[in-house]
């Protein structure tokens, strides 16, 4: 990014009309990826000077216990429903989960899920890190996931969405191909980085279960309805040029017994619709890089030229 400037210069402006069409495999109109956040939160993390972790003095029994529900209960319930309806996961992983509860990581791996990094712990924030420290957590992420799963991570979702101005350049330098931290579009797009190619993968805060339940205070059925409306719209618009819908989840939320049934209806709806390319984030990134990246970059140049 252009540090210190009003416009961080992350990407080019391209309005949502007359775009070079993106075509997904099999003539599908919308690429759907489900992103379980498989996380580990520390009960007594050290303080980061730029962000507080728990709201209460440690131990924050409800805050910590709620999230711990994920690895004891929620993950297994959620993963079972996803598998039943043919949805693989693209995991936003606190990589220390590989040490703490390898059973969850192994379960996801056996199900054919992809892993990308969500930092070491969701209680260790990047704010304030120097370059060497940030390189250390990227290298730790790559090494830890490779040792635990055999996979090489291709994506990044910053731990607890905490960034530094150099994060995107660094992950591109290490060969990662997509970031889930930019929310400016319903289609992938090139991101300006110093080396290699990095794209923005549409993730979503708006239909993230955390936002649904704790920002918008939706009931489980209302959240399910929001997801279905989001899907139906993106599937219709994707007939013109392929769109992406991400469903970001936290199993301690969606895996609660009062929510999982309504969520299962969403997966049933999408699976039955026929317009969805139900896939993983890395597969979307690979396809976009191979078939669309250059054309979209040229599109951006054309828009910039027309704007003169």
């Amino acid at each position: 990014m252009r540090e210190g400037e009003a416009d961080p210069g992350l990407y080019d402006f391209r309005p949502y009309r007359n775009r070079t069409p993106i075509r997904w495999p099999g003539g599908k109109s919308v690429a759907v990826w489900v992103s379980p956040n498989l996380e580990f939160y520390e009960i007594d993390p050290p303080a980061n000077p730029h962000r507080k972790s728990w709201a209460k003095p440690h131990p924050d029994v409800v805050g910590y216990g709620h999230r711990d529900h994920a690895n004891r209960v929620g993950h297994w319930r959620m993963a079972d429903v996803m598998t039943r309806h043919g949805f693989p996961g693209s995991v936003s992983l606190s990589v220390a989960l590989c040490q703490h509860v390898p059973e969850v990581v192994e379960d996801a791996n056996v199900r054919g899920w992809e892993f990308f990094s969500h930092g070491i712990y969701n209680t260790r924030y990047s704010y304030g890190m120097d370059e060497a420290q940030e390189r250390a957590i990227i290298e730790d992420s790559i090494r830890t996931v490779r040792e635990a799963t055999g996979q090489t991570i291709r994506g990044w979702l910053a731990p607890a969405l905490t960034h530094t101005p150099r994060t995107l350049d660094l992950i591109a330098e290490y060969g990662l191909t997509y970031t889930c931290d930019l929310y400016h579009d319903d289609q992938p797009a090139p991101v300006h980085v110093k080396s290699n190619r990095l794209i923005s993968m549409p993730y979503s805060l708006e239909v993230n279960d955390h936002y649904g339940f704790f920002v918008y205070n939706m009931s489980p059925r209302d959240y399910a309805d929001a997801l279905i409306r989001q899907y139906d719209r993106l599937a219709a618009e994707g007939e013109t040029s392929g769109t992406v819908m991400c469903i970001p989840l936290h199993s301690y939320l969606i895996g609660q017994p009062h929510r999982i049934g309504a969520f299962e209806e969403v997966l049933r709806h999408i699976a039955a619709d026929g317009r969805a390319w139900i896939t993983r984030s890395g597969d979307i990134a690979d396809h976009f890089l191979r078939h669309d990246y250059d054309a979209v970059a040229a599109d951006a140049a054309r828009v910039a030229e027309n704007a003169r």
Binding site: H58, W76, A96, S219, Q256, P257, A262
Partner: protein
């Protein structure tokens, strides 16, 4: 800019939990529990019966529902008292209508101030669990350990004096504990606590003073969370609990006993325009085969008979 190097040191990055309170365990692969009589889903109802002094304290924190305006906060003092004198009796009638025995987590101050309420609870066959002294009796790290020990003892002694029997269960205000709380509860002879929400079945916690059983009281399914925090209707609350029950009944056929805990607050669900939804819900739950209302203490008793103490 740079962080202290210790920020990238992970001393507890290891197999299992990052503390010694309990080991990791998977609900779906551990040895199943079974409730007596072929019950598949046990529904513990826990009512928090609270007294809020009009003079709130903030040490270590101010409880949810406490005074909010400048002194004297008549609106919150009296609205909470409404729950105790009116709403709670609506709840008692609703429980009687479906023949449910419930657990009432009682501030000791309630027993001192309103002994007839305690008599009504006991006469109806409900269980009394300890729920601190009054709503200024909050616990969190920072509270002096001897003060915490004293607070627990005063709550238990007062309830024992009022009812003739010492409570077996404990609920902390806002489920908030210090590092010492599980050990102090075990040391006080309590059999179970309702504070930790990380599981859907009871499990043993280990402390230096011996084991204490945690009976998870799902905070997400509480009337406080759904109605007061998330601002959803009583009908939506009813729907959500029914959906949870449907799911758990199905899960129980494959994985063994399940729990559907309901945490109720008299000044929230005991209002005239909300109580009907709760009555409907209780009738629906009662009509489901193999779904039964059990007190938290009864669930703890049945669990302890099946799960070896650590």
């Amino acid at each position: 800019m740079s962080l202290d190097p210790s920020y990238l040191v992970y001393e507890r990055r290891r197999r299992g939990m990052d503390h010694d309170l309990y080991p990791w365990s998977n609900l779906f692969t551990r040895k199943p529990l079974a409730w007596d009589g072929g019950v598949t889903v046990a529904v513990p109802i826990v009512v928090s019966l609270e007294w809020f002094p009009i003079l709130p304290t903030d040490t270590p924190f101010r409880a949810a529902g406490h005074m909010q305006t400048a002194y004297p906060d008549y609106r919150h003092y009296t609205a909470r008292e409404y729950g105790t004198r009116v709403g709670f009796y609506r709840l008692l009638d609703a429980f009687a209508a479906v023949d449910a025995r419930v657990t009432v987590a009682v501030n000791a101050a309630i027993a001192e101030r309103y002994p007839s309420i305690v008599r009504d609870i006991v006469a109806a066959g409900h269980e009394i669990a300890a729920h601190s002294t009054d709503m200024n009796g909050t616990i969190a790290t920072g509270i002096d350990e001897s003060d915490e020990r004293d607070l627990i003892a005063r709550a238990l002694d007062t309830l024992e004096a009022a009812t003739g029997s010492r409570p077996r269960g404990w609920l902390s205000i806002a489920r908030s504990q210090s590092w010492s709380t599980p050990g102090l509860l075990a040391d006080a002879g309590l059999g179970y606590m309702l504070d930790w929400v990380n599981d859907e079945l009871p499990y043993w916690m280990t402390t230096s003073a011996g084991p204490v059983l945690n009976v998870p009281l799902n905070h997400e399914l509480s009337d406080r969370q759904i109605v007061t925090v998330q601002q959803q209707s009583a009908d939506s609350y009813r729907q959500q609990v029914e959906d949870a029950c449907t799911w758990l009944v199905d899960e129980a056929t494959r994985f063994g006993a399940r729990m559907l805990p309901l945490h109720l607050t008299p000044y929230i669900m005991g209002l005239p325009y909300r109580i009907g939804a709760l009555e409907d819900l209780l009738r629906t739950l009662r009509e489901k085969p193999k779904v039964t209302f059990l007190t938290a203490g009864e669930i703890a008793r049945q669990t302890a008979a099946q799960l070896p103490r650590p």
